[in-house]
């Protein structure tokens, strides 16, 4: 997830720079802020994992793997429908980058939400 956010930031940043897109305007600003929020969340998560690793705990165990798969499964289902909605509403976006970039960020948001739901409802 961290790698994908970093790659996405680089690609979006490069495209925005090349096309001279104003990052502080309307939908672009929302996407820009979402990228920063996800970046910060991912960074905090990785620091926490590193601290745990220093104490001798494994970075991943069977529970975290199960949570990862379950939340990925729900995120996959939801994101398929999300892209379908984006396809149907494609004319209401100002440009392609904000449309696809927004879709990726919403997918990431869905993933975080499903992660929270899965954690709460384990074995449920």
């Amino acid at each position: 997830m961290i790698t994908s956010i970093i790659i996405m930031m680089i690609v979006l940043g490069y495209i925005a720079y090349q096309k001279g897109v104003d990052l502080f305007n309307g939908l672009n600003l929302v996407i820009f802020l979402l990228i920063i929020i996800f970046g910060v969340i991912a960074l905090i998560g990785s620091i926490r994992k590193e601290n745990e690793a220093k104490k001798g705990f494994p970075a991943e165990d069977e529970l975290s793997t199960q949570i990862k798969y379950k939340s990925g499964y729900y995120a996959y289902m939801a994101s398929m429908y999300l892209w379908l909605f984006i396809f149907l509403l494609k004319d209401s976006f100002p440009n392609t980058e904000s449309m696809i970039g927004g879709g990726i960020l919403l997918s990431a948001l869905i993933f975080y939400i499903s992660r929270i739901i899965v954690k709460r409802g384990l074995n449920g």
Binding site: E52, L63, S64
Partner: protein
Amino acid sequence: MVNRIKELRAKFNLTQNDLALKVNVRRETIVFLEKGKYNPSLKLAYDIAKVFDLTIEEVFIFDEE
């Protein structure tokens, strides 16, 4: 499925951290196990039982229903 991890941990004077390190999982996993919110794999159940020198059935109690 219910388990006696919390009770046994207290008996053996182990913290959640200690048990997690002994069975090589994260502390969160022990928290979820104690709350009964997670069913461990056979390997983890075996490892935990081994820490307390008991059998799996003595630590994890299966409810038929």
